[in-house]
């Protein structure tokens, strides 16, 4: 059961994912898992041919021509199609603001400005739109960002589903902060800010009518304050990711591939709410594959791990933070988890669609 690094390197270098057999878009292409990764790698990256895009970070970090030093610009965009548009713990507007802010924050940026484009379906009640606009205003205030430009389009009844929102965000990355998904090194510790799967299971519980006896709320939240505190305490953080669609499994697989390292997880150390565990057991879903909207993963050198963990735990959004694993030189490109009974398994990206339109 041991594996040689050469073998694995050869595997990844010369064995691409098999050719996709699909000639149309399936819902699974939006899952944040393997199909999404294939679509990006096969269709979009060749089409746009950009080194910045090809780095596959959550945000692009750019320096304007002629500016040698000082802060760099972080830029990101995201679309929101969640169904239903109101759910326990949030709504599509709050999700859109926090989601874009979080993509900037995990890149070490201070979020500044947002845009929002609304695609509205004919017949959408104005009161719903008002509630969502108010929720976005509140989220922007909480995040300290300004929504400075917007657009509105309306489509025929039946040609959209109530409301879709596309946001873009701009932030500033201070000098000296350089986080990257390709920066993880063997020995680094992997920290997780709290319980996983809350958002996905909350959406599923309202949509599929599964009753968990208690109302489970989405963890939809802004990570901007938490990341600021973390970067103040620890300047040597290598990388941060917010594990949204595709869950912690996708985020760590992307990290392992980009950094050409292995990731070793300890199942017993990963916090999962009882309701989420129960739902996952019932539905046969791996909590590592379920979406989060207010959690982050941080990779940090071992000497800094304790200090960073204490800082995270002293923050309201990180009170359940824990060290869930470490970066290793073995099995590069792979995430291996020690199970609660002591066996081992490889953690892969979700293969297909678990729940369409989760965010």
């Amino acid at each position: 059961m041991t594996m040689s690094a050469e073998n694995l390197a050869a595997t990844f270098a010369s064995c691409p994912v098999p050719q996709a057999r699909f000639d149309r878009i399936l819902l699974g292409h939006g899952s944040g898992g393997q199909l999404t990764a294939d679509l990006v790698r096969r269709l979009f990256l060749p089409a746009f041919d950009s080194d910045v895009l090809s780095a596959l970070e959550d945000q692009a970090t750019l320096r304007l021509q002629g500016s040698a030093g000082g802060p760099r610009i972080a830029f990101t965009t995201d679309s929101f199609v969640v169904k239903p548009i109101f759910f326990p713990g949030g709504d599509i507007g709050k999700l859109a603001v926090h989601g874009t802010v979080n993509d900037l924050a995990v890149g070490g940026a201070r979020p500044m400005f947002l845009s929002a484009a609304f695609i509205l379906e004919e017949g959408l009640p104005l009161t719903d739109l008002q509630r969502i606009a108010a929720s976005m205003r509140q989220a922007c205030a909480d995040d300290g960002v300004a929504l400075v430009t917007a657009d509105t389009k309306v489509v025929d009844r039946g040609k959209g589903d109530q409301l879709f929102i596309t946001t873009a965000g701009i932030g500033l990355v201070p000098d000296g902060v350089a986080l990257s998904i390709s920066a993880a090194r063997p020995g680094d510790r992997i920290l997780l800010s709290g319980t996983i799967g809350d958002h996905g299971i909350a959406i599923m519980s309202v949509r599929e009518g599964i009753d968990f006896e208690t109302v489970l709320e989405s963890d939809c939240a802004s990570l901007a304050n938490l990341t600021r505190v973390m970067l103040e305490v620890c300047s040597s953080i290598r990388c941060m990711r917010d594990p949204t669609r595709g869950g912690v499994a996708s985020a760590l697989n992307e990290l392992a591939l980009a950094s050409k390292v292995g990731v070793k997880l300890d199942e017993a150390a990963i916090p999962v709410r009882l309701e989420v565990r129960g739902a996952c057991e019932l539905l046969g879903i791996d909590p590592l594959h379920v979406a989060n909207e207010g959690k982050l993963i941080a990779v940090v050198p071992p000497a800094e791990a304790d200090r960073l963990l204490q800082a995270m735990r002293s923050h309201p959004l990180g009170c359940n933070a824990s060290v869930i694993g470490e970066v290793v030189a073995d099995h590069a490109g792979m995430v291996v988890m020690r199970s609660v009974v002591g066996g081992e398994r490889v953690v892969t990206m979700p293969a297909g669609e678990q729940l369409p339109r989760i965010c």
Binding site: M1, T2, M3, S4, N7, L8, A10, T11, S14, C15, V17, P18, Q19, A20, R21, F22, R24, I25, L26, L27, G28, Q34, L35, D38, E208, I210, A268, L274, R277, G278, E281, L283, G284, H331, M334, V336, S339, V340, V341, G342, G343, E344, R345, V346, V347, T348, A351, G352
Partner: protein, 375 residues
């Protein structure tokens, strides 16, 4: 979590692992019958807690995997018709038939939906009187009561727009077929815990006797599995062949009489073709004539279909425990969960999918070699 964490305790697992190692003196091959057990083995790495001379081989107990290609093509043909809402458990939608899978059909405009219970499909029929709602009733004895209940309820509610496409399969005839097959390697079974919850285990007593093979009715948690293996090995080492039921917290000898009565009311035993294995006499359920108005096969009268399996796929040998997934040359190469050649690569309970999902194709030296394209 109560009633789960107790069965996932690391210290108890270690002790059971040591006990198994102590009693094992020879090479033994044990088959776990259920797909759910296969999944647990790979998910928790249970086989890695066992001594090297003990081999677990994976059985035919994944209902999605053994549903015949002809039945899939029939589902495809029905789901393509106008005014049809075709409902199924999620796994079934990705299984490739000879004309593609049901998800692709959905992307082309057919109304294909995932339901979590057949009763949801009954409600859908009541809410959409202008549509014809068809539920794909697959599974072993475990899902038969709920599927029978859906039909029974539809009749009681007078729903004329609801029907089920039945592809039910039964465990005991499949175990007998495996034991009779040339090349059989199975020396003991971990019996199907949830099938026996419904049906009881009297049907397995003749198999134990006729083939002198130990059967241990086994649950699905790590400690259940290890306990099942320990008891099976003890029997093999002692030369005994008995039926044991350590899963007594849910399984009774007579099963669940209410569920069995309902199944008997709606279904009758029939011959059934299994994907990868072939026709097994008296190994399935079909709808009784008294419920014929709810039988999608009769209502839609899809012509007899001839279907060809991929020549690369060895799922038949895998379902009978004669081969392991990573021994297939197509495993992880032409055949992945995104591009499955056979159904064992699709369902979470399929042995190939379980191996792939938990990275066995990357993990073992020999399989790592297998994923590198030949020069």
């Amino acid at each position: 979590m109560k009633f789960l964490d107790e069965y996932r305790d690391a210290e108890s697992a270690r002790k059971l692992g040591s006990a198994i190692a102590r009693v094992t003196t020879r090479r033994w091959t044990i088959m776990e019958v259920c797909g759910g057990q296969t999944h647990a083995i790979v998910k928790y790495g249970i086989d890695r807690l066992l001594p090297d001379n003990l081999e677990l081989v994976h059985g035919p107990g994944c209902p999605v995997c053994v549903t015949s290609l002809e039945m899939l093509d029939r589902a495809h043909a029905i789901a393509s018709q106008p005014q049809v809402i075709f409902c199924s458990f999620g796994d079934m939608l990705r299984v490739p038939g000879s004309r593609g899978d049901l998800l692709q059909l959905k992307s082309q405009g057919s109304d294909v939906r995932v339901v979590y219970s057949p009763l949801d499909a009954v409600n859908l029929a009541a809410a959409n009187p202008g549509q014809r709602v068809v539920f794909f009733a697959i599974g072993f004895e475990t899902t038969a009561p709920a599927n029978a209940m859906a039909v029974w309820l539809a009749k009681r509610r007078g729903l004329s727009n609801f029907s089920v496409l039945v592809s039910h399969v039964l465990v005991p005839p499949a175990m007998t077929a495996i034991l009779q097959a040339t090349g059989n390697r199975v020396q003991a079974f971990l019996g199907p815990g949830h099938v026996c919850t419904v049906m009881g285990y009297t049907e397995y007593e003749p198999i134990v006797r006729d083939f002198h093979v130990p059967i241990v009715i086994t649950g699905f948690e790590p400690l259940d599995m290890l306990e099942g293996v320990l008891r099976a090995v003890k029997q093999l080492e002692d030369g005994r062949a008995e039926l044991e039921n350590p899963y007594s917290r849910v399984v009774r000898r007579e099963g669940n009489p209410h569920a069995r009565r309902l199944v008997d009311e709606v279904f009758q035993v029939c011959d059934r073709k299994w994907r990868g294995i072939g026709l097994i006499p008296r190994s399935g359920y079909k709808i009784r004539a008294s419920y014929g108005a709810f039988d999608a096969e009769q209502i839609f009268a899809v012509d007899a279909l001839e279907a060809q399996e991929s020549s690369l796929c060895i799922s038949g040998a895998i379902l009978q425990g004669q081969k392991k997934p990573h021994e297939c040359p197509a495993f992880g190469r032409q055949c992945t969960p995104q591009t499955p050649l056979g159904a064992t690569m699709v369902s979470a309970e399929g042995a190939c999918a379980a191996y792939h999902a938990h990275g066995r194709h990357l993990y073992d030296d020999r399989t790592a070699e297998c994923t590198v394209p030949q020069a």
